[in-house]
Each structure stands twice: as C-alpha cells, then as structure tokens.
Symmetry: C2
C-alpha cells in the first residue's frame, strides 16, 4: 500500500518551489502536523493556505483535513518501530520492543512471500501421502509444531530433528511425499543434505528460510521466504521464527478450509481424543 509520505517523497521533484517548501516541512516535521491548522502550517512552511490545499489534492486527497488524518495514521505505524533493546530495560520493556520487532518482521515477510509458491506448498502438503519436517537446533521447535498441526489434520506427518533420523527418513521417501526443511540461515548442512536426498528420491521439497539465496533454496522445489533483520538484538533468530510459524499457521488454515470431509473428521477425532486429558 502506497503511503502518503512515500507519495510526497516521490513527487517532490515535480512540485513548484512553494509546494517543495511545504513538502520539505512535512517530511521533516511530520509529527507536528497533527496539531497544526492549515494557516499555521502554511505560515511555518512559508506558503499560502491555497497551496496546502492544492498540494493535498495533488496527492489524490480530498483536502487538508484528509492529509492531516492520513499523515497522523501513518505516523504511529512508523513511530512504533523497534527501539533498540538495551541493558537496564525491564522485562516488560523488552516484551514491548519484541512486539515491534515481530510486527516488522511479519510485515516484511508478507512483502517477500510469493503467493503462488505458498499456495503450491499448501496444495502439495494437502495432497501428499506423507509429510516430514526437518529442523535442527533453533528450528527444531518449529518443525515439531508444524508436524503436530499436520497430524491433527490426519496427515501422515512427522518431524525429524536429529540428523541421522533425517537421513534415514529422507532415503525412504518417494513421489507423493513432501519434505519441508526449516533453516533461518538456509545453511544448516544436515538439513540441506536431507532435503537434497528427499528430492533425489522423488519427494516434493519445500524450504522455509530467510530471504536471499542460501544453499537450501537449491535443494528445494518450492522456497518460502521470511524476512527479518535479526542483527539487532542477539545471535538468536527470534523474529524469523515467528514468521515461520505464521507461514505454517496459514498453510494449516488453508488446508482446514480446503480439505474434504475426511480431514475435517480427522480434526474432530483429534479433539475428541484430547477431551479427557483436560479438567
């Protein structure tokens, strides 16, 4: 979605001098505009009231009122952008900053996630006769989670988070199987090798990795990308993990919606089986 701030930046060169003064002011004092009337703004930016209205119209808006509101709502979205986590932050402070990071990461992932690939992946899983999910270390939990979801749908799913098991399982897959490799960096040697083996055996291979072109992509028929800047806080990729989960959630939900009766029955069976495990 094209933001107004973007539009201002983009159209800057095509503006007349007075409108450029106005645009500069808006770009560098975006926060202030919320409290300003049109005449205050025109005074501060050194142009006339009419110029402000013209400017708003040029951006495709109704008038100054709409400009003000649009900028106000874009402001907030940008201002929450993750402050650096630092020593001395309380645990709740950290939580808040994590939220901002996660949001940013999800948003970025949305923009690099290819709709066709995502659908192809979901369809492949939906139609598969067996699903295995590979992940090591940090990605193991995601693999477990994904396999758990698919199991609930009645699919023959399993997670493999041990490199020997991965090799063994990989060698027994065939056409109709789907293998999913999870690795944030995309350079996890054993996972890549397992995926390669799966591909050789005829399985459909899918990877979930961070945007770029790491080795795991070459071992995959379908590559699903997350995008998150993990350099900020720690060595551990935390935000991309959330994005990975969200991808699996979406695939799971897609399958729930598009599955036939037997899958829905399987879900109900799952629920039923779990009932007496709870208070």
């Amino acid at each position: 979605m094209e933001t107004i701030l973007h539009k201002i930046r983009f159209s800057f060169d095509s503006l007349g001098p007075a409108e450029q003064r106005l645009a500069s002011y808006l770009l560098s004092h975006t926060d202030d505009i919320i409290g300003l009337s049109i005449s205050e703004l025109s005074r501060r930016s050194g142009c006339g009231d009419a110029t402000v209205v013209r400017f708003a119209r040029r951006l495709g808006l109704e008038g100054y009122g709409e400009l003000k509101i649009r900028l106000a709502s874009e402001m907030r979205a940008t201002s929450e952008l993750s402050a650096e986590i630092q020593r001395g932050d309380s645990c709740l402070d950290i939580f808040r900053k994590r939220i901002a990071d996660i949001q940013e990461s999800l948003h970025n992932t949305e923009s690099v996630l290819n709709a066709d690939d995502l659908t192809r992946a979901a369809e492949a899983i939906l139609r598969s006769d067996r699903v295995v999910v590979f992940g090591l270390g940090n990605s193991a939990a995601i693999a477990h989670d994904a396999a758990h979801k698919f199991l609930r749908l009645g699919l023959a799913a399993q997670s493999c988070c041990d490199n020997h098991m991965q090799a063994i399982v990989a060698s027994h897959l065939g056409r109709g199987s789907v293998a999913i490799g999870i690795s944030h960096s995309g350079t996890s040697r054993d996972v890549v090798e397992a995926l390669r083996l799966c591909k050789i055996c005829g399985a459909t291979t899918i990877c979930i990795t961070n945007y770029g072109h790491p080795p795991i992509v070459d071992a995959s028929d379908i590559a699903l990308f997350t995008k998150s800047d993990e350099t900020k806080h720690s060595i551990l990729a935390m935000s991309s993990r959330i994005a990975q989960l969200a991808i699996f959630d979406s695939i799971y939900t897609y399958i729930v919606l598009n599955a036939d009766k037997s899958a829905r029955q399987a879900m109900q069976n799952t629920e039923f089986a779990l009932q007496n495990k709870k208070y």
Copy 2:
C-alpha cells in the same frame, strides 16, 4: 499505552444517555469517523454538536479535531483487525489475516502481562540451578523452544513433553529448581499435576496460560498470562502460542542482558560449537 478507544469503553458507564449513544456509534463505526464532520457525526449518533465536543473533552482531548485524529491513528492498528478468514481465501490472504490476529493477540497480552511477575519469573530462571519446561500437544513445541533457548545460555534446562517423564522429573526437583508449565487453556491435567508435584518438592513453579483463572494458576507461584481470542478461526490456539513465544523471547533476552560473564561465555561456546554445522 492507553488508547482512546479503551478510554471510551472504560468510561462508557459513567456517561449520560446522549454521550452513550455517541460512544456506541464510535465504537461500532470507528472506521467511518474519519470522513465525518462534527455535525454529520452528531446527526448519525443522535446527539448535538456540543455533546460531541464535551465528549472529546471528557476524554482529555482538545476537541473534536483531536478526537478524529486520535481515532484515525488508532484505527490503522485496529483496521487491520482480523477480517474473518473464510473459505476461498488464498493462502496469502490467510497469512495477512493471521498477521492481524497475531498483532491483536500480542497487544492484548501486553496489556494483561504483569511487569513484576514477568521480572520475577526471569530472575527465578536466571538464578535457578535447573529449569524444566512442561508442555503437551500444541504446547510441546513451545516447551522445546524455551528449553532450547535456556540451554544456549548454559542453564541446565530441559523440556518434558511426555506425561510420564514429567511426573518423574517433577519428583526429583528441589529448592533452586524452576518448573514452567505451558498450557493455553490452563486445564491440561498432566501438566497441572506435574507442576503441583514440583511445587511440593520445593521448586519455583511458573505457568504460562491464557488470561483467566484456570487450574494451572493455582499450581503456580508465578502466573504469566497471554490474552488472545482464539474462537475466531479454528480449534487450535495459534495466536496465543505466538504470545507465549514472545514471552520466552523476552525472558531470554532479559537474561542475556543481565547475566554475568559466565553466561555470555556459555552463549559464545554455543555459537562456536555450532559453527561447523553450517556451510
């Protein structure tokens, strides 16, 4: 951070009839307000212009103009509010709606998460000589993930996702140990029982569960709450899981920041040990 929408909801009962009509209208047609003048709004909500201004003032704002802008900027956070996921949605559509759900859930969790409890939990873990994390089914992956993180910090952490193992491990804990139980519903019988046993043995018990007062809370010294409305899309609690992860992320980060030299050394050792596992 107190939002205007919150304030409206909160002060609803203390308003007169005309202001209540106005408040109702705003709460149910928040999107519309952006385009409305004060007289349009007063007409639609069945009150006078003056009432609108008074209402805005009561909320601590300057006047109608500020009310409009504040709501507009909160909207965007809210306007992405999860449209119902429906059959026929593409997988990417679903992903987008998932993002909105996740954001909502994180935001709600932030508002029910108690800063002291969170810090106490982090400090208990930081100082513990042993950490065990219990989770079954859907929560098992979270337990694995948490234990994995703590392991990286050099803590004696382990996840237990099998009810026999949980019972065994629980019976061997003691003072100085920390046991963490994860259950969205808070009614997972085996996890609750394991936690109870841990408490009896003298361990500090922590639970992560959805807001309310489920049985698991009584078995816990410290209760950390998530808040997410999972009724929307499926039987599977997906959003609360993300909130749970974010809580563990925060605790992990807190420990990283507050740990002494030896913990940082432990993290470096972890990194070093993993280096040759990658391309």
